[in-house]
Amino acid sequence: MNIVVCVKYVPDATADRHFEADNTVDRVGVDGLLSELDEYAVEQSLQIKEKLGDDSEVTVLTVGPEQATDAVRKALQMGADKGVHVVDDTIAGSDYLATSLVLAEAIKKIDHDLVVCGMASTDASGGVVPAMLAERLGVPQVTMASEVELDGQSVKIRRDGDTATETIEGTLPLVLSVTDQSGEARYPSFKGIMAAKKKPVETWSLADLGVDAGQVGLSAAWTAVESTEARPPRTQGEVVTDEDGSGAKALVEFLASKKFI
């Protein structure tokens, strides 16, 4: 079984995430890392490979700036077998549609039976690229899985939706996305970190994918950010220390003063 796991290199949420003058996200001036939610995708890919116990391969794929190799490297350290990094200046500022187009074209060039994604990125939190990939690749969308079961050519998942818990099934090849409930993601072992250094990582450009520069990047985007504004940080209001019930009294007084009760 050949598994392609898509990962994203994102700005660290604890760092000062911000926008450039052209209203694109600064992905270069801020420390980045493998999006935490993609770790679960890598984990489930590795578990599938381990359960099959054969010569299955996990290829980690990313589209991102030069620094995005860090995300590929982390996935390789966790146990993925090889990496593909699509990097091209013209891709900067792409919207969901261009991103999914580039990923889809890259996936088509990699021998694959199963595409695995995280539930959403931790920067845009869109959660839409996996569905777009399924649409573009013309394969079943089996997404937002909190539990995954592979049975021959069939993938069965538990999807915990807003109003119901569903069991979804599809036949390979398909796009699978997994949530942070799907199983704890492993930390790279020392052995894994050393082994990763020897694993092959290919670098592809847009031309390698046969994608026209006019289809990607900021100028090709089908949405435009008109403005961004930093919200003033919240200022701390009154904080009291509870002493023999004084805390509860003050709390209720506050609620009353704000007309919540």
């Binding site: 949420a13 649409e135 569903e166 099934e169 701390q236 209001g237 904080v239 709390l251």
Partner: protein
């Protein structure tokens, strides 16, 4: 005036509140046309009309309900083709966003997700980077497809014509490949829906697994109950209660965080609440940086006392 398509979010015909918010927003942009995909529109029709639907497209879901997302996207794509609307509005649930995503590819349109406001244009407002930035955006190609978060608008009751029109969609075989083989509805909690509630009372690690003080306080305020990731990971509350980056994002009038330290993961899910209160034993807890009011104390003592006081005042 162009039609604005609003996908009706309902459970067996019971329309969920955010749909009324979408109809209200649709009214700003054009003429609201509700799209009802289901087996029986009769219980929903009057409500959709009362909240402004000029038209209600009724799509029978016999071929649709057993397959994940793809068929609904096909229905909407066919309606977009037929009506050439000014925009398509869908609620920002996981399913809603996936439908919007596929619709965007099918109609070669831009898509904006998680709008917290939509004004004429349409121009959207989004709250990004854990609420640290507000972004204004618009779609520049095709039919604007916008997913909207709950609480983005106050639903306004203004009668629309509510004219029903049956729409026979053609569902391709390719859309019927992710089968829903089982479905267990979520049990009603008797409390407001977490993402729609005006007040949310949450519990975290500090509850030690006993959510009773949190739940009783929530009930005194008529609030929804939420949980931090720590509480969910410990198995104390189901994931559907989780507020945070990997759970639900809420923006209620009042958010009360109890025994929650306030890590960025949690803050991402509640930082834009209008008023924030925290109760925590640790005066250094980062959550206190966000609060309009805070109590340094044990929630097991503070909440029951506060609950009693609130109930007494209610009389």
């Amino acid at each position: 005036m162009s039609e604005i398509l609003v996908l009706v979010d309902h459970v067996d015909g019971a329309v969920r509140k955010p749909t009324y918010e979408l109809l209200t927003i649709a009214r700003r942009l054009g003429e609201p046309s509700a799209v009802f995909i289901g087996s029986d529109v009769s219980s929903a029709a009057d409500n959709l009309k009362a909240y402004g639907a000029e038209k209600i497209y009724v799509v029978d879901d016999a071929e649709i309900k057993d397959y994940l997302v793809a068929p609904k996207a096909e229905v909407l794509a066919q309606l977009v083709e037929k009506t050439q609307p000014g925009a398509v509005l869908i609620t920002s649930s996981a399913e809603g966003k996936e439908i919007a995503a596929r619709l965007a590819v099918k109609t070669e349109s831009g898509v904006i997700t998680d709008a917290v406001d939509v004004q004429a244009g349409p121009v959207t407002t989004q709250s990004v980077f854990a609420g640290n930035y507000t972004v204004q955006a618009k779609v520049t190609k095709g039919t604007p497809i916008i997913t909207v978060k709950p609480n983005a608008a106050t639903p306004e009751q203004t009668d629309g014509a509510g004219t029903q029109e049956e729409f026979a969609a053609t569902i391709s075989e390719a859309a019927k490949t992710a089968k829903i083989t089982a479905s267990e509805p979520r049990k009603a909690t008797g409390r407001p829906e977490l993402t729609e509630a005006a007040i949310v009372v949450s519990g975290g690690r500090g509850t030690g697994g006993n959510f009773e003080p949190v739940e009783k306080f929530a009930d005194a305020l008529g609030a929804a109950v939420g949980a931090s990731r720590a509480a969910v990971d410990s198995g104390w509350m189901p994931h559907s209660f989780q507020v945070g980056q990997t759970g639900k994002t809420v923006s209620p009038q009042l958010y009360v965080a109890n025994g929650i330290s306030g890590a960025i993961q949690h803050r991402a899910g509640m930082q834009t609440s209008k008023t924030i209160i925290a109760v925590n034993k640790d005066e250094e807890a980062p959550i206190f940086e966000l609060v309009d009011f805070g109590v340094v104390g044990d929630l097991h003592a503070v909440l029951p006392a506060a609950t009693e006081e609130v109930n007494q005042r209610k009389g």
